[in-house]
């Protein structure tokens, strides 16, 4: 037993509690504490990733109760990968916020830490009801963060976001309840075993519950037709919050991947998502890019590009093959960092344009337009998947995996056509923001540019290290497609 598995949960929880105690201490100290905690989080994530790198699956029985009776945390390659991506992302929106936006409302840092608590909990838990609890933790933290700073647009978007997610939580409970009522367990590995051996008489309600669960995760992941909450929410949220939320849709995608490979892998629930995931993902990809084309501001465009990236990611997962899942896992950090960088960049660009903000209208020349334009160019290349950066590598892996799938012409057409649409959309916004400028430059703003640049640099790292990283992704995909190892690790460790 190693406490390393639970450490990524304890750290943000305790950091949040400390920040709550210290709420009246000078902001500089609290910022230092929050940043220190996220950096330590990164260290823990690296240690965890190293610990599972030889293919071992670490488990942690909370309260020392054996699975399936107690709650168990499970760190396999996928969970460690997700925790690592979150930890890599988290410091940069925080740094961006620490230039003053964190003081626009109360408790920003507490909410931020507990958001990380919820995210890491969702990635590491091996229990379906515990997953529900962590979904609620990360949702309530995100409600607070969406509203951070106030303002009409945020409150309207926040109200929509909250109500839709409350409906989603109700459905989550119905699905989990049905699965418990049928199989008498909540542990995901145990559920997988019992589902595989289930009486065919149970198939009807079990498959219905499985697809209801998929509906809940599709809502969180913003899959068509459940994606409409996302653009208005992300575009309205403060830039650091939107940047952190780049990982939020990935929680839904993670949950879909986990349930599809573990619980819906065989038996009476086998192939449950086959008919749905790929077509919906392709449609989401195109809908997101159409939205990006029609966007009226850079923040809105970034939000639609998040939708498109969810479409691409779930297309990869929807292929179902090891190569497809591996391509998706490589694409996941890339799209997260690139989208987060674009949100932060939009904030920086908007702050230099006065009342126009980041709206697509010709405005004054930007102070530091050369720098910003260069960063925007890099972000655009990453997001459109042009060579030679990581977006291209991700799409190349995806297309190579798609060739083995019967629906390959559709995937090829949507991904390549989508790349073209993204190119047109970003070229249009870039030319509007940087080349149709007129008049004197506005005074330089206090919004930092370094965090966005650092996130883009992470994209470059992903490109340079594409070889070893795609090997890691392939190993994680292979582990997912052999769920018996996961089940043995969770259930086999006790008599």
């Amino acid at each position: 037993m190693s406490h390393l598995v639970i450490a990524p949960l304890i750290l943000p929880l305790v950091a949040g509690i400390l920040l709550l105690f210290l709420r009246d201490v000078a902001i500089a100290w609290r910022r230092a504490l929050a940043l220190g905690a996220t950096l330590a989080q990164f260290g823990l994530a690296v240690l965890l990733a190293v610990a599972v790198n030889d293919g071992t699956i670490l488990t942690y029985a909370l309260g020392d109760w054996p699975a399936p009776y107690g709650i168990v945390l499970v760190a396999d390659r996928l969970a460690a990968w997700m925790v690592l991506v979150t930890a890599l992302l988290a410091p940069f929106p925080l740094l961006h916020a620490c230039r003053g936006q964190d003081e626009a409302g109360r408790h920003f840092h507490v909410l931020y830490q507990w958001q990380l608590f919820g995210l890491n909990g969702a990635f590491l838990t091996g229990d379906l009801f515990n997953l529900f609890v962590f979904f609620e933790v990360l949702l309530l933290a995100s409600y607070g963060l969406v509203l951070h700073g106030g303002g009409r647009a945020r409150i309207r978007a926040g109200l929509h976001y909250v109500v839709v997610n409350l409906a989603g939580s109700a459905l989550f409970l119905i699905a989990v309840g049905t699965l418990y009522g049928l199989f008498g367990t909540l542990n995901m590995a145990d559920l997988a075993l019992r589902m595989a051996a289930a009486d065919p008489d149970l198939a009807g309600p079990a498959r219905a519950a499985g697809l209801l669960l998929f509906a809940v995760f599709a809502l969180k992941a913003a899959l068509l037709p459940l994606y409409l909450w996302l653009p208005r929410t992300y575009a309205a949220a403060a830039a650091p919050v939107a940047a952190l939320f780049a990982i939020m849709t990935k929680v839904g995608a993670y949950a879909i991947l986990r349930t599809a490979t573990l619980m819906f892998a065989g038996g009476s629930l086998g192939g449950l998502l086959d008919a749905w995931l790929l077509p919906l993902a392709l449609a989401t990809l195109l809908a997101g890019l159409f939205g990006a084309l029609a966007a009226r501001s850079l923040g809105e465009q970034a939000a639609w590009l998040v939708v498109a990236s969810v479409g691409t990611l779930l297309t990869a997962f929807g292929l179902g093959s090891a190569a497809g899942i591996a391509a998706g896992l490589y694409y996941l950090p890339h799209s997260t960092f690139a989208a987060a960088a674009l949100f932060l960049l939009a904030d920086r660009i908007g702050s230099g344009r006065g009342a126009l903000a980041d709206r697509f209208e010709p405005g004054p020349a930007l102070a530091g337009a050369g720098w910003l334009g260069g960063l925007f160019f890099v972000a655009a290349i990453l997001l459109t998947g042009m060579p030679p950066l990581s977006g291209f590598v991700g799409k190349f892996l995806l297309l190579r995996a798609a060739l083995a799938h019967p629906a390959w012409p559709w995937v090829l057409a949507a991904v390549l056509g989508g790349g073209l649409l993204a190119l047109v959309a970003l070229a249009r916004s870039g030319s509007l923001l940087f080349f149709r400028a007129a008049g004197a430059p506005a005074p330089a703003a206090a919004v930092p540019v370094a965090p966005a640049a650092a996130l883009l640099a992470l994209g470059l790292v992903l490109t340079v290290a594409a070889g070893p990283l795609s090997d890691l992704a392939a190993a994680a995909a292979g582990q997912l497609l052999a769920p018996q190892d996961y089940i043995a690790a969770v259930l086999g460790s006790h008599p």
Partner: protein, 109 residues
Amino acid sequence: MEALIAGLIGLLTACGVYLALRGRTFPVVLGLTLLSYAVNLFLFAMGRLTVGRPPVIGTGLPGYADPVPQALVLTAIVIGFAMTAFVIMLALKARAELGSDHVDGAERP
């Protein structure tokens, strides 16, 4: 008895969903409250219906109701309470800032 409970759960769900689809915040909150009652009853019923056998050991009863769904419902009630408290306050905030208690504010998108 099973049919009665299933029917009630269905009725509460229908009323909750209908109210949640209204255009003003207060009925929506009431609808979500009804929906959470329905969901809590549903989750609770997943341990099947048992009369007169609370899961408290040492009462001398011949058996116990399944305690797991009860514990889950307790957690769900608490989380539901937190959510209701949050969303009603958000409704007040929206009323003050958007100038209307319509879910889309005064100027509809």
